[in-house]
Structure formats: structure tokens, C-alpha cells
Subunit: 501 residues, 2 copies
């Protein structure tokens, strides 16, 4: 199918290129009417053919463009997130979009099949990054970094089934914050949870809860339930699906697909239904079976200390110890967490975005690259948050500016392009955001309408009269009031008006 | 070779994973000494083995990480560029990192071989984007956009031979500004050149020149020199190399490799050596051979009008009409331009970055996607600019902050983590950028040294005494002056101090 599409594209491109080449003798006016002609031919005859041949102009499956409107919303969200990371003293880092394929193998468990590989065109075998954590770990190892608090914003790629409704794409943006280094226990972990709370609160996404668990508790729990150690990670993957599919389906996967004994699965089920606050942590310490696992006890002690710090940071009531939280990725070794929005039932119908932030401790990952540094971090799901905010904006019908233009340069007169160009250059050079219409003789009404449509606050108008008097007319688009300003005072007056508004 | 590396990696990963798994019975202290132990084993025995097996931890060929220091520099450059785009009323756009392979074919001429393809893992055939122009054109066609002024910042990928010294990478960042739509001639084109001038001036890159030519002049020139029309684009590619290789080598390529008659090549050579201002444009209009080409004349008339506008915008003296400028890409149809820095000979030895900005008119590209919109645009070579700025900073030995932390929370006392956590949460919640050390009992001197190293301006100190008196000690890191501030006034006092500095 793609092969066929390709051939068609090629024929199409050659055809259009031929149509586009103007004959050598055409002149300015004629060239334009020639392109008009080409456009008509394209529209009437070739387009249906194009559509028939399956050669649709689109973005790849699971990806999308972000329109100027989308970008304004997105930039506001990113800005809030990055401000929070900076508030916590993080440095900024960037890594390439692809890594040597070998860097990504053995890191993601069952999810590895979702990695996008690059074609072997000679040279190194490469894969698109699947998350920002493994590249960060590779960076630490490569540069022998022992301590670092940093953030990392970028696109990652996963060959998942896209679900636009849930904001799940094959290309999406992640915002990661990580603390690398050997420190006293649970202090960096507590800061990560504090950051998640700050970001979700500041983005005004409504009420939320952060589910917390610990891989040591999880492994201990699996062990005392009777899961063989070799199956820990794959059973973790199944348990992790509990927020998406029912216990019945998870149980079926564990028993029928992964060969677990039914009674073992049921024991897991009993634990996986438990969630609560510090009191549940204390209760589990007394649990006759779980307390037999020293590993689980170690995890529970860690969580106790974590809850103490979370109370001091004022966020303990946002945290829920949840034994069903497993996280899909292989590399976690300690505390894990996932923030979910608590939507009212009516909102839930609109949009079910799942978790909006997640993370955990991964003390072994950097070691896989030959350099031992314990780490803890978090990742914000910008695209899911974006989907929610977009939905809300649609509901409230908010109108947003997509440009920042402050001043429009207009004229009521014909043949005044020269004066407009001189004037706008002056404004640009003074750092003022300014636009004009790319026409020799635009109508004044067209120019003023443009300002209203684009929500540009000020218009400067230059005509024969103004030129003679050495003034410029300054007009407020909202109040429609106009005053004459001496040309030499114009920039200062505009700057004054802008600083007042 | 990569296959071998992969096997080694796999064995290595399994080995480390085994070493990392602590025995179930170890307790808190023991776990840590166990990882210490693992680290030692890794360092002493396994690392040399790792290096021998060619399994080097690195980024892919021609790519690099950007360290926090790099990112600070890069963000400042991007910020200037984007501010300029916004000053000219541009909206922001984003497109996916990869496109359907068919979207990129027949767009780049000889450069097409440099496109990175994705592996066929089932589904669509995909390629990484080679520039931001073709995705922009695809966006316009897909959304039937008729007018749009927008900018687009993102990474692009090319399988070129990397040259670190010249800032040439396989992954690099482009900042594009484009004006789409049918307008009166040369007005948007002039604005693009104005933007390039503003950006290079604001980045203080030293003196520069923008070479300008027109594809119509170029094609007319090739025609009257005797180049067959089928060879126009490939000969353009050769001419375009004149800034990198000598005329002799370009001539050899045209004659020996591309089959041009020697006298035809020499005729081209005569024109390609011409460069100058408006007077050269006027001179070429009178050129007995060139003036026979109506296409060339049309291009020369366009350039005359362009120079008129550039004079009004105050940038004509930065522009050089240069008949050797050809631009490698297929899709240009009118004015083309390229900005070069005019370095003194001593600087040139340090770093030869080539052009830092380039662009042109591409009236046919969107039409290849079945929607006819004329466009003109420009692209800023951020990575080349970055290489230059880095070089300068090294020369001047500038020191830069990589974090923005305003306040450090310290204690002279043991067992004061609780109070520090409560205090820092208060600061964070007030929007103040604050840090503390992740230690239960850090030494005061260590804490103060950290502030000096990280250039953090303020320290708040809490101890037994302060706690009793209900105050916090506020210390200026530079002056080392300390004052007691009432706890309830602390946030206000810090905000006052920060606004003053």
C-alpha cells in the first residue's frame, strides 16, 4: 500500500512541477494568472485523482501538528511547569531525539516492542528515545556525574495504539525533573511529590490524588503471595493495568497468559485492593504475611519516613498509599508514584486522561551504563494536561490571541507604502511589536478590521496631512480615540501606553 | 560490529541487574553498602571489559547532549530569535519530528539522500524531517491555509558528515519564520531580510552581510550560458558550493561529473564572480547577454524593487547582490538569501561557521501538496550561532549561573531537617526559588559554600535560637551581612530584597 502511494506521489510531483514552471516569456502579471490557472487545474481535475490514489496529505498515525492556538495553550502549560522546576533549583538538560539502539535495550521490559527504530542506512543502529529517563541516565554515566538536579523537556516516541480522546499519541512531549546523587533517604523523593502537587495545583486541573507505592513492597508482596522471582516484572506489568482494565481481566492475564496459579493471583488481588494513608502503611507493617518479607518491611519503613516529610511539606493529605500501583517500566527500584485527577462523574464522560504525572526511584538504571548513581524523578504528561485544558477552553468558549502585536501601522492614503515602511522600521528598531498589511494600497477599513480581529491594541496612522504636520495619529482600537503625536515622541508615547495597559 | 556490541550489552545488562538485586534479607544500612560493593566491582573489573568490548557509552554520531551550561547559552539565543519573530507579528507552529516518507520525496533534489528514514515496523513508511519548510508547506496544504505569518522552532535531522568545528551536526535546531499568502511583490521578502538583520545585530555576532540572488536570474543566466534546462537544478547545486570549494573544483564538478561543456562552465564562472549593490542589479539589466533572458530580467526587476524597500527599512547597505548564491534546495522559485559573518582573519582561524541564516521564496512547494500558496521565509542556524557564542565565552572566560535559585535554607544545628522542610515549603508556596541540602545534618560551612559556588544570593538560617525567638536569620551571600527577620515577615522581606537587586 505505501509503495503504491509512493509511486503515485512521484508522478504527481513531476506533474505539478511541470505545471508550475512558467514559460520563459511570461511577465509579472502573467505569472500570477498562470499560477491561478494551475491552482484551478489542480482543484478541479487532479485533487479527486489524488484522493482516489490514497495519497492523502496528513501527519503520520498518532501524531499531530500544533496550530498557533494550540501552541499558545501549550506554551502556557510548559511555562508553569518549567517555572516550578526552576523554583526547585533544577538545571536544564537536552539530549538527542535518538540514541544508539543498544542504549535502550533491556530498560523497558515488555514495553520495548513499542520503540521506534531508525532504518539501517549504514553506520550505527539507532532508535528514537522512548522516554527522557534512559537518556538522562546515559548522560550521567557518560559524563561521570555524581550529583545533579535537572529538568528535561522534549518529545518522546512510542509505537502505541493512539487514542486521541485520552490524549495518547505516538509522539508526545514529556517534562522530566530528576535528582541524581547519594543523599539521606526520602528527602529528594518527598521533593518530587511536592513538585507534582505544586504543578497540578498551579495548572488548576481540579482535585487530584497521588498514588504511592514502593517496588520493594511490591516485590515482597509478590514473593509472599507465591510469585516466582522470575515473574516479578511481568506480573508487575499486569497489576499496573488495574486502573485501565478490571480485576477480572488482570486476573485472567496473570493466570491464563502468564501461567500464575489461581490462588496466587487471588492473594495478589486481596492486597491490590488496599489503599489509604499513613495508617494503611502502619497496618501493613503488622500484616502477618507481608511483615514476613524483610524487603516489604524495608519499603514500608521508607514510606513511613516519606509520609513524615510529606506532612512537613503540607501535602500528606494528597497522597494515597496504593498497593495496586506498579508502574510499567522495569527500571524502578524504590518509591513509585502516579498522580490522577479526581473528576466528577460528568467530567469523566468528557475526557478520561488517566495519570497526568508519574515517576519514582531508579537506583540501578545509571549502573547499567557502568556508573553507579541513585536517582529519583518525575515526568509530567503535558499532552494529557493539554487535552484537558483544551476541553475546558472549548466549554467556556475562551478567545485567545495567537500573536503579541502591539501596534499596527496604517494609512488612509494611496501610495503610502514608503512612509509605512520607514515608520514600521522605526518601531521594530525600538523593540515594539508591529505589523502592516503587505499591500501597496490597502483600504483604511480593511486595516482597522484586521486590528480588531487580531486584538491589536494600538494603531498608528500616517497620511498626507500627518506627514506635513510632522505628526502621527495614534488610535486606540478599543476606545477608537485618536490623538496626534509628534513623530519624534511617538516611540516614547507608545511605550508609555503599553506599560500602562 | 553493532551486532557484536549488542550482544555484549545484553550480557552486561543481565550481569549488572543480578549484581544490583540485593538479597532479600539485607536491611537499610546493608543495602547501601551492597551498592557500594557493586560499584567497586563495576569499576575495578567490569569497566575495562566494557571498554574492550567496544560498548562505549556515547551519543550517536553527529549528535550531542546539551549540558546545563550549554542550555543557558542556547536559551538566551533562542529567546532573542523568538522575540524578534514575535515583534514581527508571527504566530507559533509545531509539527511532528517525522513525516510520511512520501511527503519528503521530490523536495530536496540531490540532498534527498541525506534524509533519515525510520525502520519499516509495519504501518506507514516514515522519515525524520529534513527541514521545517516542507512540514510547514504540508501544514498549509492540509489545513487549506491561505495566509499565515508564523514561526517554527525545532530539531531537524540530516545524514551529513558532521563537522563539530563548524557547528555542523546530524541533529540540529532550526528557527524558521515564514510568510504565506498572495501579497504585493517584495514586501514580505523585504521583511524577511529585515528580520535576519535584526537577529544578527541583537545577538552581537559582529559585522555581517546578506548575499541575495533570485532563482529567476539564476535560471536565466544558466539558460543564456547554454546549460540545458534539465540540468538547471544540478548545476545550481554545484554553483552553490562556491563558498566552500574553489571555482576550479566547482568547474571540475560541472564539466567532468555533470557533463557541461567547458565553455559553458566558463561563461557561468564569469557571472558567478559578480557581486555588489543596487548598481550591480542595474548593470546586469544592461548586460547584453543576460538582458536577453526575460526570466532574468523579471528577477532583476524584482531585486530593484526589493532594494527600494530595503533602503526604506534602513538595511540596504547590509545586502549584497551575489550571482554565485544558488542555495542547494530545489524548492526555491524567487529571491534567495544567505547571511554570512564578516570575520577578521584571526577570528576566521578560530571558527568558520559559514552562513548563520538563509532562506528565500518558494511559491511552488505548497502546490506540490495540492494547495497553491506562495511563500517566503527564512531559517536561523542556531547551532552555528551557538558554536560562535560558546567560542567567545571561552575566550572571555565568562562564568554563568545554571540555576535561578534565590534563597538557600540552612541550619547550623543537628536534627533540624523538619524545620528546614517546613520553611522551604513556605518559600516554594510563595513562589520563591529555594533549595536545601538533602542531608539530615549538614555542616553550616558546607551549606554556605554551596551558596557561593552556585551564586545563590540569599540564605535563610534557622536554628534553636531563631526558633525560640520566632525569627529567621537572613544572610546576604555577597556581603555576608545577617539580620533577624520575624518569621511572619520573611517572605515579604525576601521578595523586597529580590525586587531591589
Amino acid at each position: 500500500m505505501p509503495q503504491l502511494g509512493l509511486l503515485h506521489r512521484r508522478a504527481w510531483a513531476v506533474l505539478v512541477a511541470q505545471l508550475l514552471r512558467p514559460p520563459c516569456e511570461v511577465r509579472l502579471g502573467a505569472v500570477r494568472s498562470h499560477s491561478q490557472q494551475v491552482a484551478e487545474v489542480l482543484t478541479s481535475q487532479l485533487k479527486p485523482q489524488l484522493e482516489r490514489s490514497n495519497c492523502i496529505i496528513k501527519t503520520p498515525k498518532g501524531t499531530r501538528d500544533l496550530s498557533p492556538h494550540d501552541m499558545v495553550v501549550r506554551e502556557k502549560i510548559l511555562d508553569r511547569i518549567v517555572s516550578c522546576f526552576k523554583r526547585h533549583g533544577a538545571k536544564m538538560l537536552d539530549t538527542p531525539a535518538f540514541e544508539l539502539k543498544g542504549m535502550l535495550t533491556e530498560k523497558y521490559g515488555e514495553d520495548s516492542k513499542l520503540i521506534f527504530d531508525l532504518k539501517d542506512q549504514g553506520g550505527e543502529l539507532l532508535s528514537l528515545r522512548y522516554d527522557l529517563t534512559v537518556p538522562f541516565a546515559r548522560y550521567l554515566a557518560m559524563n561521570k556525574v555524581k550529583k545533579m538536579k535537572c529538568y528535561h523537556v522534549g518529545k518522546v516516541w512510542r509505537r502505541e495504539s493512539p487514542s486521541i480522546a485520552q490524549g495518547r499519541y505516538r509522539e508526545f512531549c514529556q517534562c522530566d525533573f530528576d535528582i541524581a546523587g547519594q543523599y539521606d533517604p526520602m528527602i529528594p523523593d518527598a521533593e518530587c511529590l511536592k513538585i507534582i502537587c505544586e504543578i497540578i495545583s498551579e495548572l488548576q486541573l481540579g482535585d487530584f490524588l497521588i498514588k504511592v507505592n514502593d517496588r520493594q513492597i511490591l516485590d515482597g508482596m509478590l514473593a509472599i503471595c507465591g510469585v516466582p522471582e522470575s515473574k516479578f516484572r511481568t506480573i508487575c506489568s499486569s497489576v499496573d493495568k488495574l486502573d485501565k482494565i478490571s480485576w477480572k481481566d488482570v486476573r485472567y492475564e496473570m493466570v491464563a497468559e502468564k501461567g500464575l496459579a489461581p490462588e496466587v493471583a487471588d492473594r495478589i488481588g486481596d492486597y491490590a485492593q488496599c489503599h489509604g494513608g499513613l495508617s494503611l502503611v502502619e497496618q501493613m507493617c503488622q500484616d502477618p504475611r507481608l511483615s514476613q518479607s524483610k524487603q516489604a518491611l524495608k519499603g514500608l519503613e521508607d514510606l513511613k519516613l516519606l509520609f513524615k516529610y510529606l506532612t512537613l511539606l503540607g501535602i500528606a493529605e494528597k497522597i494515597s498509599f496504593d498497593l495496586s500501583l506498579a508502574r510499567g517500566l522495569d527500571y524502578y527500584t524504590g518509591v513509585i508514584y502516579e498522580a490522577v485527577l479526581l473528576q466528577t462523574p460528568s467530567e469523566e464522560e468528557l475526557l478520561n486522561v488517566g495519570s497526568v504525572a508519574a515517576g519514582g526511584r531508579y537506583d540501578g538504571l545509571v549502573g547499567l551504563f557502568g556508573h553507579m548513581v541513585p536517582c529519583v524523578g518525575l515526568s509530567i504528561g503535558v499532552d494529557r494536561i493539554f487535552a484537558m485544558v483544551e476541553q475546558k477552553m472549548k466549554t467556556f468558549g475562551e478567545r485567545m490571541r495567537t500573536t503579541e502585536t502591539q501596534v499596527f501601522v496604517a494609512t488612509p492614503q494611496k501610495n503610502f507604502l514608503h512612509e509605512r515602511l520607514k515608520l514600521i522600521a522605526e518601531l521594530w528598531d525600538a523593540g515594539i511589536k508591529a505589523e502592516l498589511l503587505y499591500k501597496n494600497n490597502p483600504k483604511l477599513l480593511t486595516q482597522l478590521h484586521y486590528c480588531e480581529n487580531m486584538m491589536i491594541p494600538l494603531v498608528v496612522i500616517i497620511g498626507e496631512q500627518e506627514l506635513k504636520k510632522g505628526v502621527i495619529k495614534l488610535r486606540s482600537v478599543v476606545s477608537r480615540k485618536e490623538v496626534d503625536i509628534k513623530r519624534e515622541n511617538l516611540v516614547a508615547e507608545i511605550q508609555k501606553r503599553l506599560s500602562e495597559s
